[in-house]
């Protein structure tokens, strides 16, 4: 036997769920045959697993899938609008959000045609270059937030809120699928100071990355 009794005890759940390799399984089964206490624990764990496996869980099912498809469609449509807006903005023309606004815009152009044409066809001035119309996000524009932060699994919202207030930070995006948040300093606050505070907050912050550096 190469492992201690304690190590074998820690592996019992994986003997019960059948995920140990053959060698480990044989070693633990041999130990169970000699140790009634371990055997009783194994039996109890097996009973717990059986009870859990027997539970009937009612899931959202097809309703959940329909909801998912609906929201995916909405998001896809929004993304398409966004791309159209950004494309329009890059070309220096007004973005169209729907047929209604399209026709309103056409009507407006009919009235203001010559004025509009002369405006859009003239060369851009230095001041106009790189300036997007208010309310539109250009494709490829920089993501908000100076810091990419992962919070510790056990950190409470109250603890996180207190830390962010101390460090004069706000959450501007997240959590991402990886559980990371984008944070930015409030006006007038120093990002280096804030980063230092986050890094010293053990138990609340798991990782900090300054994505602007």
């Amino acid at each position: 036997m190469t492992r201690s009794r304690d190590e074998i005890e820690l592996d019992l759940p994986f003997l019960v769920n059948g995920t140990l390799d053959a060698e480990a399984r044989a070693e633990i089964e041999a130990a169970l045959a000699e140790d009634p206490h371990l055997a009783a624990e194994h039996e109890a764990l097996a009973a717990i697993r059986s009870g859990m496996q027997a539970e009937d869980t009612k899931t959202p099912g097809e309703f959940g899938l329909a909801r998912l498809m609906r929201d995916v469609d909405r998001q896809t449509a929004r993304a398409a609008d966004h791309r159209a807006d950004a494309g329009g903005a890059r070309r220096g023309v007004a973005p169209f959000r729907s047929r209604t606004t399209l026709w309103q815009a056409v009507a407006a152009v009919a009235v203001l045609g010559i004025v509009a044409q002369s405006y859009f066809l003239r060369p851009a001035t230095n001041l106009e270059v790189n300036v997007a119309p208010a309310g539109y996000v250009l494709a490829g524009s920089e993501e908000r937030g100076a810091l990419l932060v992962g919070f510790a699994a056990g950190a409470t919202e109250a603890a996180i809120r207190g830390l962010l207030l101390d460090a004069e930070l706000e959450i501007v995006a997240g959590p991402s699928a990886l559980g990371l948040y984008r944070l930015d300093v409030l006006d007038g606050a120093d990002v280096e100071t804030a980063t230092g505070l986050l890094r010293s907050a053990e138990g609340i912050v798991e990782s900090v990355e300054n994505v602007r550096n």
Binding site: L10, I48, S50, M52, G64, M69, A153, P175
Partner: protein, 184 residues
């Protein structure tokens, strides 16, 4: 199966809704069961399940296949539930293992509890989220220690330790409830 799911994620990354639906059908039940076992709230669990699959839709293109699809999806769900706990500011911790109670006696009680789903649900509900997650992934999903560790983002030793403590707490809780019922 695993390769097939990997292919589905790639398809989702290219905007294939039918692939997303196939992935949903394959993982809806286990992921929902995992979430609801940690929240005890079917409505909130349904919302989080929805968020998990919306995230999959958004980020599938960046899935590099370095982990199994199953651990990747459960990892997303794991973090979503932590976030939900934070929003609730809920602290459900029963990390102290009571000294009373005999393991062999508790083991008998645990065996009897095979038929006692209600007791089991109750006792699972007394565990901390970390303990509950580990038990859920080990006994609902039959995952390896390495898979659970990857999902929770901790070393395998931590998972073994969590399961060990969770087991003691569960057996103690089950023993107490069943003994209490016998005396009633």
């Amino acid at each position: 199966m695993s390769e097939n799911h990997h292919f589905l994620v790639q398809q989702v990354g290219q905007g294939d809704k039918q692939a997303l639906a196939a992935l949903y059908r394959a993982y809806e039940r286990p992921v929902y069961r995992f979430i609801v076992s940690r929240l005890n709230d079917p409505h909130e669990a349904a919302d989080i399940l929805h968020e998990v699959f919306m995230d999959i839709w958004r980020v599938a293109a960046s899935f590099e296949g370095r982990s199994q699809v199953r651990t990747w999806i459960f990892g997303i769900a794991y973090r979503k539930v932590i976030d939900a706990h934070r929003k609730r500011a809920r602290v459900t911790v029963t990390d102290e293992v009571p000294e009373t109670g005999d393991v062999a006696e508790a083991a008998d009680a645990g065996f009897a509890a095979k038929q006692e789903a209600e007791h089991l649900r109750y006792c699972m509900g007394t565990l901390s989220d970390e303990h509950r997650s580990a038990v859920s992934l080990a006994f609902y999903e039959d995952m390896t220690c390495a898979e659970i560790a990857q999902i929770a983002g901790v070393p395998e030793g931590t998972i073994k330790s969590r399961l060990h403590h969770a087991k003691k707490l569960l057996l103690h809780c089950l023993s107490g409830r069943i003994r209490g019922r016998a005396l009633a």
